[in-house]
């Protein structure tokens, strides 16, 4: 399964293409410019001490890349893995640099061609997703699909919040390491 990033007629500036996909029963879209490829879901290895929405890491032809589960990120139950499950490989901006990461999707749907005036502004409430993750909404028949700002999804602040809590724990660990030692010695005696 593979979608290449070729635009046949790049001339109209205002039109852009979006890949839509299904996650937790809802249709989302992401700019095709950000999408590098789509791969079948393969085992994702959980990384301990990371937020729940960070599914883990997977092997993309020898490269280890992070995979996120948007369902959890958006406060829904975790995605169920089926034979349609796939990972959309995107190039997101993370701390000012491009980062290859995977987005778990229940299935991919289609490529939408939208002009700027076909994209509605996100209303201040009513969407399941926090508006800061959205670029807008695209009409999809009678329904709307939420256009994601993929750069914001893996925001530095949220990742930092995670890594920092680990870091402070660790700093605490170092300090208490010395403290624990005497206690532990007594403990050894009790154990022996």
């Amino acid at each position: 399964m593979g979608v290449t990033n070729q635009t046949k007629n790049p001339a109209p500036v205002v039109r852009a293409q979006y890949l839509t996909f299904l996650t937790a029963g809802e249709e989302y879209a992401v700019s095709l410019m950000k999408v590098r490829e789509i791969i079948e879901y393969d085992t994702v290895t959980t990384v301990p001490h990371t937020p729940a929405w960070m599914s883990g890491v997977t092997n993309l032809r020898g490269k280890v890349i992070p995979v996120v589960d948007l369902a959890i990120k958006f406060g829904l139950p975790p995605s169920r893995i089926t034979k349609f499950s796939c990972v959309i490989i995107v190039e997101a901006m993370f701390q000012g640099e491009s980062l290859t990461m995977g987005v778990l999707a229940d299935s991919v749907s289609q490529v939408l061609d939208l002009s700027a005036d076909e994209i509605e502004k996100t209303p201040p409430f009513g969407t399941r997703v926090r508006t800061e993750y959205l670029l807008g909404m695209g009409a999809l028949g009678k329904k709307f699909c939420l256009i994601l700002d993929i750069d914001k999804v893996l925001s530095a602040e949220e990742m930092l919040a995670v890594t920092e809590s680990v870091a402070t724990e660790e700093a605490g660990a170092e300090a208490s390491e010395a403290r624990n030692r005497s206690g532990k010695r007594a403990h050894f005696e009790a154990g022996a």
Partner: protein, 550 residues
Amino acid sequence: MDLADFDRGAVLASFLVESEEGLDLMEQALVQMESNPSDPELLHTIFRVAHSIKGNATSLELTELAGFAHVIEDLLDVFREQHVLPGGDVISLLLKAVDELRAMVAAAQSGPVELNSRQQGLRKEIAKEVEKRSKRVVRTNGTQEEAGSGAKLDSLPTSNHRTLRADVDKLDHMLNLTGEIVIAQGRLRQMIEKLSGEQGRTIVEMHREAERLYMDLQSEVMSIRMVPVGPLFRQFVRSVRDLAKTHGKIARLEVVGGDVEVDTTVLEQLKDPLVHLIRNAVDHGLEKPEIRESRGKNACGVIRLSAAHSGGNIVVTLQDDGAGFDRARILEKARSIGLISEKEELREQDVYGLVFQAGFSTAESVTDLSGRGVGLDVVRRNIDNLRGTVEITSAAGKGSTIAIRLPLTLAIIEGFSVKVGTEVFIVPLEHVTECTELPAAERNDESSGILSLRGDPLPYVRLRRAFGLSGETPKKENIVVVKINEFHAGIAVDELLGGMQTVVKPLGRAFRRVQGIAGSTVLGDGRVGLILDVPSLLRGVMQTGLPAQA
């Protein structure tokens, strides 16, 4: 310091390489300046090259060469002061000077350089240019009388080795590719081993042969990346001298084992910790000359930087003959900032370990060298990142020794793979001392506990619980016994899978410092396995504390 104190031949060799590179850079910058006369950074680049050639030539007592570089520097300085870039004429003149410098540097290989008449002419021309553009008076022959007094040089035997300089990025890429091949080979082997019949056996046999060739290739690629530590170590010879001088001390650095080789990436990342440790040794370790003499030591302090191989590791040792770490003061400081409690008594080792904590410094004043309380914690972090360990031993009044133990390469490790539930983890083999079955009495669901290993208590951590992994603890569990410094501990896992060569892949920027995880690797079946960071895993467990037992 006398040049005879250290290996002049080696310094000369690195001077030759550096100057060659510098001159190439200077030439490029000059040419670029001609076509793009608006980038002041180019002028700085050129200036830096001339300056470092001058400095290095002076320290090698290549007086004439240094003098020549000096006028070039003067000329560039004039432009820097006047904030203008040189025009075409001057650029041509400087390019000519680059050519002559190249010839002189090459000639320096076989002995002291004397300017020939063309070079002297060029030097005068440059000097004239300086005088024309500023009020400066340039001595054109001032250094000549010193030329004869230089130390006698032995001519270097020229090497017949054919060499090629290569981009480290390319080497990294090559190493990555060989790593990929190892993984792909492993996956292929798992597949074809299932084949049956005569043909299957033949395929497996041929595959084994190919694997041997790939292993050879990989070790060749690894060996290309190995560089001697000498050039890095020798850079510190000068800085120790200068640092000591600014502090009213006398010191020299001895380099031992400069030809020990280590992966170029490891060496790169070793530089910062060494800078910190050497500064610390000069600033805190060594005493002032008068104090040293009153203590019956030579006024000149000696810092010995040595490297040696030990198993699959390199051990870098920094030894000084200074005052040693002040145990009482470290304890006092640690108590005052709350690292340890008032009554707590620590083992000798643990006391010195405290200096690697963030914010720790016993220096009373903030000096330009150290004393800001930053530095040694950075050392620990850098060494942790290199998967190394650091140990301090110290004797009051006699000096201290800091031993850094590092793996020879970061790219591939010998791993021991274990399984918890469906997940595979790799324990670096260097930490593993033995494996044993978890005694029946310890079968529970606690996150940690103590078991008796041949009568000695061994604290262990249950990986499933430490990492919050799903699944039931199986009936039969195994213990991997690990050793960090002198500390033994156990890691309880479901299954032991065995040793394997592991290609280390960083987890990437999205995960910066995950506690207990050092990196990842692609397993034989294509899945990603995580590599345990044993020291950090154990630190994490100690923080949450072992279960109370009374």
